[in-house]
């Protein structure tokens, strides 16, 4: 158990000294995760609303697909994305392989089903009368959606948290399409994996702590924002 204590000590030193590599990796992770969360929620929340409120042919199948995608293995997504982004792949022209953009893309693919499925569940949890009432009071489609979303704000905030959690903790796809390149595509998770395999527990633990801290800060911020709204 000595290595754990040693690891914590090392982590403390690195964090308190403001180690540039640690903070650089943390900054990239935050950028990638934030961007991927914004994109996946910007697409996933409306998709969830649509799935929850519209009755159309194939809706059940669409919900099944979205729910199945929740359990999609991240390495498989990484692999497929690798095929798409590699030089011979259909998206090879983008030149995104081994860039942080590729990691964002992977995270978006993984977080989108989470955002869609959970927001669909959140919207379905809102009393159907809210939507009808908004409509009978003359609200257009967007205003109605906004009104319903406001009622589900706690559950939707949880969707954001879950999507961010997926993006910030993702490793499979990030490793494959990002390549874990120092100073360019090394995220907290890929770095932890690398340093652990190299036996550098201190650094790995320091990065692990930053990861936990990031998640904590984001959750606290979201909770504070939620707390501002009353019933």
């Amino acid at each position: 158990m000595d290595f754990l204590g040693e690891g914590f000590r090392r982590a403390w030193v690195l964090l308190s000294l403001g180690d540039s590599e640690v903070y650089g990796i943390a900054a990239l992770t935050l950028k990638v995760a934030a961007l991927a969360t914004i994109i996946s929620c910007a697409a996933g929340l409306p998709l969830g609303y649509f799935l929850a409120t519209r009755r159309f042919w194939g809706r059940r199948a669409a919900l099944t697909v979205v729910n199945t995608a929740l359990a999609f293995p991240t390495v498989v997504v990484g692999l497929l994305l690798y095929g798409l982004l590699s030089r011979q792949g259909p998206l090879g022209g983008l030149g995104w392989l081994y860039t942080w953009q590729a990691i964002v893309l992977g995270d978006v693919i993984l977080a989108l089903p989470i955002a869609a499925a959970l927001s669909a569940a959140a919207i379905q949890g809102v009393d159907a009368r809210i939507r009808r009432t908004a409509e009978t009071l003359g609200a257009g489609r967007w205003r109605t959606a906004w009104t319903v979303a406001r009622e589900a704000r706690f559950a939707l905030a949880a969707v954001l948290t879950a999507a961010f959690g997926q993006c910030v903790a993702e490793i499979g796809a990030a490793m494959i399409v990002g390549g874990n390149i120092r100073g360019s595509t090394r995220t907290l998770t890929t770095a932890v994996a690398l340093y652990t395999s190299q036996g550098d527990f201190g650094l790995a633990l320091a990065l692990g702590l930053v990861l936990v801290l990031l998640a904590l800060v984001i959750n606290v911020v979201l909770q504070v924002l939620q707390g501002r709204g009353h019933a």
Partner: protein
């Protein structure tokens, strides 16, 4: 001007509403009465343009309302549901919601809100939030929220179901005052027949999704025995004699106007004679008729008589009364 034509509406294949024609006049108050499950709420949802009928059309000013209802059309009609829902936020925020979505200016909005609040006595509730309100208060706020929009058609589903009698009276008086200030169409679904008779200009009864020629007081679901002609059917504690060849499940309807009312049993050809006590009396809006409600040993019957007849018979709640009607007066659905 708001009408349903050849409407058949189904839920899961079952016809819940079957109305060849149902129209709301441009002004005036129509009450739709009927048992739970008669189709009142469904009818209001169709009229509110919230649902499109499975078959048939909804027309506004003669023009067919398209399946995808334009917001401009929807804004001409509003509905207060039976158990209305307030949005999160204060009562005031709820009241301005519909005006805001119409892009109304703040000063105009404030004027309308002040007037509506005054009319429905909501001033003390303005800054309260929904969890601080009783069911009755929520209902009043919901009616105010709809009334403030000044729509051409106001639909109310059991607007006084959670209110006590005084609050219900206040609500109907506020509606009446609003109608004096501004002509618009009101359609109320209610099982409170007294309210319907007192406040509405026109009463329509729904039974099993169809317009019924009688108000629902004297509607009875029965099992008709086999055979033809005269049959005696058990309804609660009484036996109703009916003339029909129908067999099996049916609804019996006895028009309140086909009921003879007397203090003593009459020597007559009526096959149905029931003695009981008056439990309530309601005067129709125009004052010409009185609806006498009587308990015939556990079964409630309602008869319509003229105000003069009610006076001559000295009918009052608690007094003994006899209702008689012919077997052929009983309609079978």
């Amino acid at each position: 001007m708001l009408e349903l034509r050849d409407v058949r509406h189904r839920y899961a294949g079952r016809v819940v509403l079957d109305l060849p024609h149902f129209a709301l006049p441009r002004t005036g108050m129509v009450a739709v009465v009927g048992h739970n499950g008669a189709g009142k709420s469904t009818l209001l949802r169709l009229l509110a343009l919230l649902e499109a009928p499975t078959e048939g059309t909804v027309r506004l000013d003669g023009a067919v309302v398209p399946h995808r209802v334009p917001t401009t059309l929807r804004r001409r009609v509003t509905l207060v549901e039976q158990r209305p829902m307030l949005f999160r936020g204060s009562v005031r925020e709820n009241l301005v919601y519909g005006l805001q979505v119409r892009g109304m200016r703040r000063t105009a909005m404030n004027g309308i809100i002040a007037e509506t609040v005054e009319r429905l006595g909501l001033a003390p509730l303005l800054e309260r939030r929904r969890h601080e309100l009783s069911e009755g208060e929520i209902q009043r706020v919901a009616v105010a929220r709809a009334l403030a929009l000044r729509t051409d058609v106001l639909l109310l589903d059991e607007p006084a179901s959670s209110a006590d009698r005084a609050a219900a009276g206040a609500l109907y008086r506020a509606l009446a005052a609003e109608r004096v200030a501004r002509p618009f169409a009101v359609c109320i679904a209610s099982h409170q027949l007294e309210d319907a008779y007192r406040w509405a200009d026109d009463i329509r009864a729904l039974a099993d999704g169809r317009l019924s020629p009688v108000t629902p007081e004297n509607l009875f679901r029965v099992e008709l025995p086999p055979g033809e002609g005269l049959k005696s059917v058990r309804v609660g504690t009484i036996d109703i004699v009916v003339m029909t060849d129908r067999v099996g499940s049916a609804v019996l309807a006895v028009p309140a106007t086909d009921m003879f009312v007397s203090r003593e049993p009459l020597a007559s050809s009526a096959r149905n004679v029931f003695s009981g006590r008056v439990t309530g009396m309601a005067i129709e809006q125009r004052g010409a008729g009185v609806h006498v409600r009587a308990d015939m040993g556990g079964v409630e019957l309602v008869a319509a008589v003229t105000a003069q007849a009610a006076r001559e018979l000295a009918l009052a709640p608690g007094s003994a009364v006899v209702f008689s009607f012919k077997a052929t007066a009983v309609q079978v659905f």
